[in-house]
């Protein structure tokens, strides 16, 4: 937050202008989200860490194989393509990190405050259970994708800058590198992929939130074990794997639904033509998932409201 907005929220400033009895305007949702970021610094540290890791990897690569990387990016177009692959691998790694961070965040979000009894402090303030739970759901659904995108852009710009520097030192032209990478195209795709995964994974996050609010302890076990049991039961009794397929579809299905990679419309992944937002939005499973997410979140709100302090 900027110092200016802090001044706006300064009640002392308000008190001088308004009558003391007049309640100040508050922003419970905004502050609830900020409070989540204060507590869970991994939300932004993990993506930044992975980004830094990738940059360090590139530097080590450049240092241990001098001449290899710049030459690779310089003249041979096929090799330059592989440079863009390493950018994409780093991006995928960050998407995966973002999912893992979001899942663990959700599992802790409603159980942590009960465990340390701080829920009694939060509930002593005029922030409704709905605002609190929505702010917690907002983190994996909106904050994490945005943070991940920012970290990705920062990482790729740093990588690009370092490569360009290395090339310049060697006196190699940097234009081919720029041409091959097409950053803005990549960013468009990343933004699309991040939005698609957030929507697709919404029921997973919401389910984990609900489990976190419901389970007295070990919310992770309660979230995972019943599913595993179902998978095993189905395999043993009917010798089918439909549950497993459904889980795996929920985890990875976004890729096939949001991008036109299947025949007959098969196009290269790197092309913007591979984006299929229309088809993605027309996927019934997306909307079923979102409806489930809404139900889970509503249940989590209700549970936090009704749960009595122990």
């Amino acid at each position: 937050m900027s110092p200016e907005s802090a001044a706006v929220l300064d009640p002392a400033a308000d008190a001088r202008t308004a009558a003391p009895a007049a309640p100040r305007r508050t922003r419970p949702f905004y502050w609830s989200v900020r409070r989540e970021l204060w507590e869970n610094r991994s939300i932004y540290l993990a993506p930044l860490g992975v980004g830094a890791f990738a940059v360090v990897g590139l530097v080590i690569h450049a240092l241990t194989m001098p001449g290899h990387m710049p030459g690779m990016l310089g003249n041979d177009p096929a090799a330059a393509g592989s440079a863009s692959v390493s950018y994409r691998v780093a991006a995928l790694l960050m998407l995966a990190t973002s999912f893992v961070v979001g899942a663990f965040y959700c599992l802790e979000a409603l159980s942590g405050e009960r465990r340390d009894r701080s829920v009694l402090f939060w509930k002593s303030l005029p922030v409704s259970d709905r605002t609190t739970v929505l702010a917690k759901a907002f983190v994996p659904l909106v904050v994490l994708p945005v943070v991940t995108f920012a970290a990705l852009v920062a990482m790729q710009l740093t990588m690009l800058l370092l490569s360009a520097l290395a090339l310049l030192v060697q006196g190699v032209e940097i234009a081919p590198l720029w041409r091959e990478l097409r950053l803005f195209r990549m960013w468009t795709m990343l933004l699309y992929a991040l939005a698609a995964t957030a929507l697709w994974h919404a029921p997973i996050y919401a389910f984990l939130l609900l489990m976190s609010g419901w389970a007295r302890r070990t919310a992770a076990l309660w979230a995972v074990l019943p599913l595993l049991a179902l998978v095993a039961l189905e395999k043993l009794t009917m010798d089918t794997t439909r549950v497993l397929a459904a889980v795996s579809y929920r985890l990875f299905g976004w890729y096939g639904e949001a991008f036109a990679l299947r025949r007959p419309e098969r196009v290269p992944f790197s092309s913007l033509a591979s984006l299929a937002p229309g088809r993605f939005l027309g996927t019934p499973e997306l909307w079923i998932g979102l409806a489930l997410a809404a139900v889970f979140i509503a249940a989590a709100v209700r549970l936090r409201r009704l749960r009595e302090p122990s």
Binding site: A6, L9, D10, P11, A12, A15, P20, P23, R24, R25, T26, R27, P28, Y30, W31, S32, R34, R35, W38, E39, E113, D116, R117, S118, V119, L120, F121, K123, S124, L125, P126, V127, S128, R305, E308, P309
Partner: protein
């Protein structure tokens, strides 16, 4: 106007009855002490008043039904459960920012002024503060909220005596203005004796004594009886009798002070003395 009004307030957990039909009326501007042994139902009563638990019976706090209208009630009520509930990862500055950001009646300047009088470093996290400092921080936050009802559940539990004394001094001098209502539970009864305007003893989910402190002082009298007068003193029907250093101390309820003064040294008992007397009477009654 009554700040808290309860009729037949009941709460049970399974077969355990925590509140067994409590009638209660607390006027605005009072400082009520809720005193009772562990498991007497003090915290349950406070949780019901705060809308944190379901209950049976009628309960009205500041014109609201706490359980159903919690979201509206919480604007007018401040509450310290005990010193351990501030999240340990929270920085002092963040705590102030957050409460300022969500509470319409929070006066940031006031909170800053309270904090300035302490040794609390604003960049510290709660986990890095001493227990006394955490209590000071919580009190600073709560006192800067212009609430009509302040509920304190064992607010000084585990604090050393300096902090405890300071806690109630600050509360009285800088917060209480005669129009707010304060409800406090504590084990350190002697420390709140001069603070309270009203007193309630609660045992096994029932109110066993309810009186104003003015009444308390005129009603109860303790006599350190000279050995030769013990039998005579017993004739006045003491509530309780105990031996201290070989001398009998008799506690009377609504007794005439003048004849008693002839039998020994007369003084107003502490809340703790009356508490012990009343609880012993309860146990005797229960055993019968």
């Amino acid at each position: 106007m009554a700040c808290i009004e309860a009729r037949g307030l009941r709460k049970s957990y399974g077969t355990t009855v925590a509140l067994d039909g409590i009638d209660l009326s607390v006027e605005e501007g009072r400082i009520l002490g809720l005193v009772g042994p562990n498991g007497a139902g003090k915290t349950t009563a406070l949780n019901a008043i705060l809308g944190l638990i379901r209950y049976e019976g009628a309960l009205n706090v500041l014109g609201h039904e706490p359980w159903r209208e919690r979201d509206r009630l919480v604007r007018d009520v401040s509450f310290i459960a005990d010193v351990a509930v501030l999240p340990r990862w929270l920085r002092v500055s963040q705590a102030v920012d957050y409460v300022a950001g969500v509470h319409p009646r929070f006066d940031r300047a006031k909170a800053e002024a309270f904090l300035a009088r302490t040794d609390i470093d604003r960049t510290r996290k709660v986990r890095e503060l001493s227990k006394g400092m955490v209590a000071q921080l919580h009190l600073a936050l709560v006192m800067a909220i212009d609430a009509r009802l302040l509920v304190l559940d064992e607010p000084t539990l585990g604090l050393d005596i300096l902090y405890r004394k300071q806690f109630y001094d600050t509360l009285l001098n800088d917060y209480f203005d005669g129009s707010r209502t304060i409800v406090v539970t504590t084990h350190q009864v002697e420390e709140i004796q001069d603070v309270l305007t009203d007193l309630i003893f609660i045992d096994r989910g029932r109110i066993v004594l309810e009186c104003g402190m003015d009444e308390f002082e005129s009603r109860y009298v303790e006599v350190m009886v000279r050995p030769e007068h013990v039998t005579a003193a017993r004739g006045y029907g003491p509530l309780h009798e105990r031996q201290v250093l070989g001398r009998s101390i008799l506690l009377f309820d609504r007794a005439d002070r003048r004849p008693l003064a002839a039998l020994g040294d007369v003084r107003t008992p502490s809340i703790a003395d009356v508490f012990v007397a009343v609880m012993d009477g309860q146990d005797a009654g229960a055993a019968r």
